[in-house]
């Protein structure tokens, strides 16, 4: 896993622990809905937290291929690479 992806996983851990009162572990293989029990509000809080930290925008269409924490880390890394520095 690339460094940026590891940063995303760390941020997911922070958001779940600090903002969503998640007490369990957060691993890249974890399913966002089944393992981490995120509901619609939790997913929004997570998306907003990642957008704020990495200065990218995640869309509804992006969510289609995202099931696990690792999927999410890859998506955010891809968006970071696609977004010009000055817009971030």
């Amino acid at each position: 896993m690339a460094e940026l992806e590891r940063d995303v996983v760390a941020e997911v851990r922070r958001i779940l622990g600090e903002e969503l009162d998640w007490k369990g572990a957060v691993e890249p293989s974890h399913d966002l809905l089944k393992d981490l029990q995120l509901d619609s509000l939790g997913l929004t809080v997570l998306a907003v937290g990642l957008e704020n930290r990495f200065r990218v925008k995640l869309s509804e269409e992006d969510a289609a291929g995202v099931t696990t924490v690792a999927d999410l880390a890859r998506l955010v890394s891809r968006r970071v690479a696609e977004t010009p520095e000055e817009r971030r």
Binding site: E19, D39, S40, L41, G42, T44, V45, A47, V48, E51, N52, R55, V56, K57, L58
Partner: protein, 359 residues
């Protein structure tokens, strides 16, 4: 098992007053006002705008002009503004409700005052006693903390009282000025959603005991339902600057898991079935809550049309919302003698209140 309404020992609903404060702001105006604030913390403002648009609210009536909220920072400033506006709107709605029922403040024996958006001691109905000149033997029951359920629960408690005092008149007064609770510094997603959903308003229900010779739907029965271990589903955290919202996305799920069984059990005790109910008076919690009500109770969309319309026009008015829908149902001329209705709301606890009405 129910007697004809002329012999019915159940208290009756005479009228429902509804009042909104004077300062209307469309949802787009409010989004515009919030944008700068959101940009202090958040990167993707379009996502937050979408959250405000997704709640199906076209605008809200505010207690103050939109520019006058900015200087309100401390709890004291917000609460002082709340007391002032609550007394004004409370007086207006009580006068309107009593006029509709053809009664005066001197006819009132008991006022149940419900709110969850501000604190006042003496409470608001005491301050109104000085303005409206209620009788000096007026009984007062101020209720703080029931939240959105308090409109339905307030009616249910007033009806409990009127069963003991069948010649008495009781008011249930709800004043909810949600805009004055807004914690602008709280840029969390639950608070941003709440700031898109909740509005200000007041409602007053006039109820009379069974011996009143008057018209109106009767409150045949009520049922309180408490859901154990759900304290963080909804509520306030009381902080130095006032009331900070606790809002979980699990509300629609709780509705789906419970409401159908709650309603069916309650109706079965009255010898009724869901298909006997012609009028559904549902709290306008939000789009997902209304969808969950309709889905779990197997209702066609039009069954909750008044709740959807109220949500769109004025937002969620907390405890006043279900009373707005009750008033609109009563004044629609749609209910016919013998029709059954259910008023239902949910609130912090988490809990629900079901009220069975018969026209």
């Amino acid at each position: 098992m129910h007697s004809a309404s002329s012999l019915d020992p159940s208290p009756l609903v005479r009228a429902v007053g509804r009042a909104l404060p004077p300062h209307y702001a469309s949802q787009e105006q409010l989004i515009g006002a919030f944008r700068e604030l959101w940009s202090k913390k958040h990167f993707n403002l379009e996502r937050l705008e979408d959250l405000h648009r997704a709640v199906n609210v076209s605008g809200r009536f505010l207690s103050l002009p939109i520019d006058e909220y900015h200087p309100l920072v401390s709890f004291q400033q917000r609460n002082d503004a709340w007391i002032h506006a609550a007394v004004e709107l409370g007086e207006k709605v009580v006068r309107q409700a009593l006029d509709k029922a053809g009664l005066t403040p001197r006819d009132v024996d008991h006022v149940f005052f419900v709110t969850v958006t501000g604190l006042a001691v003496p409470s608001i109905e005491a301050r109104l006693a000085n303005r409206l000149r209620f009788r000096e033997d007026l009984r007062r029951t101020p209720l703080f903390g029931l939240g959105c359920v308090a409109g339905a629960a307030g009616v249910a408690r007033a009806v409990d009282y009127l069963r003991a005092w069948p010649r008495h008149t009781a008011l249930v007064l709800s004043v909810e000025l949600c805009s004055l609770t807004l914690q602008r510094e709280d840029l969390s997603i639950p608070n941003i959603i709440a700031s898109g959903l909740f509005g200000d308003g007041a409602a007053c229900v006039v109820l009379q005991g069974a011996e009143a010779k008057a018209q109106g739907p009767r409150v045949v029965a009520s049922r309180a339902v408490f859901y154990p271990d759900t304290e963080r589903i909804m509520g306030w955290d009381i902080v130095d600057t006032g009331f900070k919202v606790v809002l979980s996305a699990k509300v629609p799920q709780l509705v789906r898991e419970n409401v159908r069984a709650n309603v069916d059990t309650f109706l079965a005790e009255q010898g009724l079935k869901r298909t006997d109910i012609r009028h559904w008076v549902a709290h306008t919690g939000g789009p997902k809550v209304l969808e969950a009500f309709a889905e779990s109770l197997e209702l066609p969309r039009e069954a909750l049309a008044r709740s959807w319309a109220s949500l769109r026009e004025v937002g969620n008015l907390s405890s006043a919302s279900v009373l707005f829908v009750l008033g609109e149902t009563m004044e629609s001329q749609e209910p016919r003698p013998g029709d059954w209705g259910i008023m239902m709301a949910m609130g912090p606890g988490f809990c629900a209140e079901l009220v069975l009405l018969r026209w």
